[in-house]
Symmetry: C2
Subunit: 453 residues, 2 copies
Amino acid sequence: MKTIQPRLPKGMRDILPRQMVLRQHVTAIVEQAFTEFGFEPLITPAVELSEILLGKYGSESEKLIYMVEHPGGKEELALRYDLSVPLSRVVAQYPELPKPFRRYQIAPVWRAERPQKGRYREFYQCDADIVGSASMLADAEIIALINTILRRIGFQQFVTLLNDRKILTGIGQFLGVPDVKLPELYRCIDKLDKIGLEGVRKELRDTGLDAALSDRVLGLLRPDGDRPVTWDRAALDAMRLQMSNCPLAVEGISELQELLSYLPALGVAEEFYRVDLAMVRGLDYYTGPIFETLVVEPRIGSITGGGRFDGLVGRFTAQSQPATGTTIGLERIIDVLEELQMFPADLGQTAVQVLVTVFNPELVSESLKLATELRAAGLHCELYYGKDALGNQIRYALKRGVPLLVIAGPDELSAGRVTVRDLRAKFQSQVARASLPQALRERLATPPIPEAH
Amino acid sequence: MKTIQPRLPKGMRDILPRQMVLRQHVTAIVEQAFTEFGFEPLITPAVELSEILLGKYGSESEKLIYMVEHPGGKEELALRYDLSVPLSRVVAQYPELPKPFRRYQIAPVWRAERPQKGRYREFYQCDADIVGSASMLADAEIIALINTILRRIGFQQFVTLLNDRKILTGIGQFLGVPDVKLPELYRCIDKLDKIGLEGVRKELRDTGLDAALSDRVLGLLRPDGDRPVTWDRAALDAMRLQMSNCPLAVEGISELQELLSYLPALGVAEEFYRVDLAMVRGLDYYTGPIFETLVVEPRIGSITGGGRFDGLVGRFTAQSQPATGTTIGLERIIDVLEELQMFPADLGQTAVQVLVTVFNPELVSESLKLATELRAAGLHCELYYGKDALGNQIRYALKRGVPLLVIAGPDELSAGRVTVRDLRAKFQSQVARASLPQALRERLATPPIPEAH
């Protein structure tokens, strides 16, 4: 029989067990926080009808959607591109779901993007969304959720930039920017931090926008020129006064101020957020508050974001639903943690906590009993299968990165004892068999003491 | 804008939060047992190169494989059909993986089968496999693993049938059944329990197998006619003697006897397993011990199975690897548990443990602080967003199935206290704010006391 070369599709990858240790560490933190904040899990199929996905992401993005079919199948199918559109379909499809509907989903999505470092064609999104509430409490809780997750993961210096799409749209309408020019206006303004006031002015000129108009927009967003504005309560009040003839902008400013008022009681310290009226998020479907979180030190930039999308459910049903939420890119977080070597040192190489050795073939039943006792006590226990000498079994455990070893020889067994060896510390001791699970737990909880020289 | 009808592809479904409670209960048991037995997690992409999947499952099965493509893509892609073939690819692709490689994977697979009750086109498999060990200890541990999982889920009367492909193949070769007739022989013998000795004899005749040959095969498997054989040590020894000229069958019997010798020390009680030389599993690729677990009471039949497949890795690399493992179908287990109403009564309708109400809009910050404190203590806490009267908030919690409610009015707050209401027991009490997390935990751990009448 011809062998087939074992390989993966372009841009796809396997996550091998050693890498899974890091991944499960992050996933557990994210899922725990989602659950603490009252979000409930949802599973949707990877395959959706094409018509559900098409027309939602823009024509450039649509080219990245994978199509699916089976022999004789009559449906036009596709792999999901994100988790927000399936969520919107679910909310429209089951109107009986209690509102607000707070769901989380941690699942892969597929995009046929050009593969490059840190970008994969299958990647995992961690979404938490609240559907059915227009309250700014919902947006504030999403920001508190992001804050909680990033702090628990170990980030110390990061900031969530806040804005509201209503303000941007209001400014545009108020100053008379033609509707067709609005997307270009936003795209240019988003670059303020990168290319400065003059750069943006030039880009706006290139789009054909009236120069006086550009100046007025930029004058509102950057009254002090290139110096970024601190959008504190006073500055926002001043902006509201200036925009008092534009109900949309006024509503956006009120939304932001209400949202801000909730953050202290939600435990989000002031250092972790800042209003930035020039922050624009890429997706078209945002309608209210938007947020983007940057890791400031080290300076790695955007790590997650989100916002309010009150119109998306309305693509599937006459009665839309207000909605807000966030998407955390699992791979982005993991890549950053690895780059910055931010993983806890005691995470280890494997979830296996203890290897039960087999002293000799006659004693295999004793080792099986020991392993069974340890598993019943909830320990993660591997049994050695080979008939090798103890030295080989120890080398195997070292290679695998298993921290603890249990050895049960005939003398020990007849004395009702077993030997525990800590391979991290090159420490070993005999313990009574009955207290073995407890002894192993204590060893695992104690940072290993390095061997004395 | 035209709305798109929200609906799912044929045979696909969403798992809504209420259903997820049951699902996570089962998944947690399965994953915990996998981890205790020393299995490590692996993620492979949903999309594989078609050539990896084709030629492994048989032509009928191949028709059920979903094909995948993206605009401009040059690769022939497909959605995975199971988790065993991707595992075999992984083992061949990364020869540096330490052996034995014990991995688990809980993930969806896709098959375009005709939808029917209990059968979905996307369904989840829970696979645990050991690659790189030919030891019968590996097979014995897989059986102990299945036993542990089913007992923890709540099954009490079930039995794992054991056989070895080498015995069947050996019997066939020994008696001179032509190789091309072997698959048909197995297919017929698999029906012994269903259609009895005469039924199988007739079916064998229909396949054109020589009648004397059929009788000799059936005479070996059922020496006492329709009465099933108890294949204890003595019966297996007798069979080994009869087959002593057939090394393959002798090897199979020895494997089974060795495997059986390990089960007591692994905590698998005798009532939970039985050798059945007439048990045949469907998949072609099994090469050694095979197992199939039946739930006996209530009589619902096969619930999981597995076996040794020493040749599969060899489809991808010159040097194959011995391998054994099991596949647990998550949906099958959940459907059975629901049908038999076997879920723990205290599982509830939601993972949310407590709803923090908002007494009035002036006190919203107090409720935010309470929610933040409870979350920091690890409780699963939802905050009420509306500005409704308390009665509406309570009705909402009842509808959602949230067990506990926290109420913080002005009098209570000024006294440093809050009210806890248990909606399951219609019980309420005031507790000091500092001990609120502890009080809620105790309530959750106590079965609710029904209201006195």
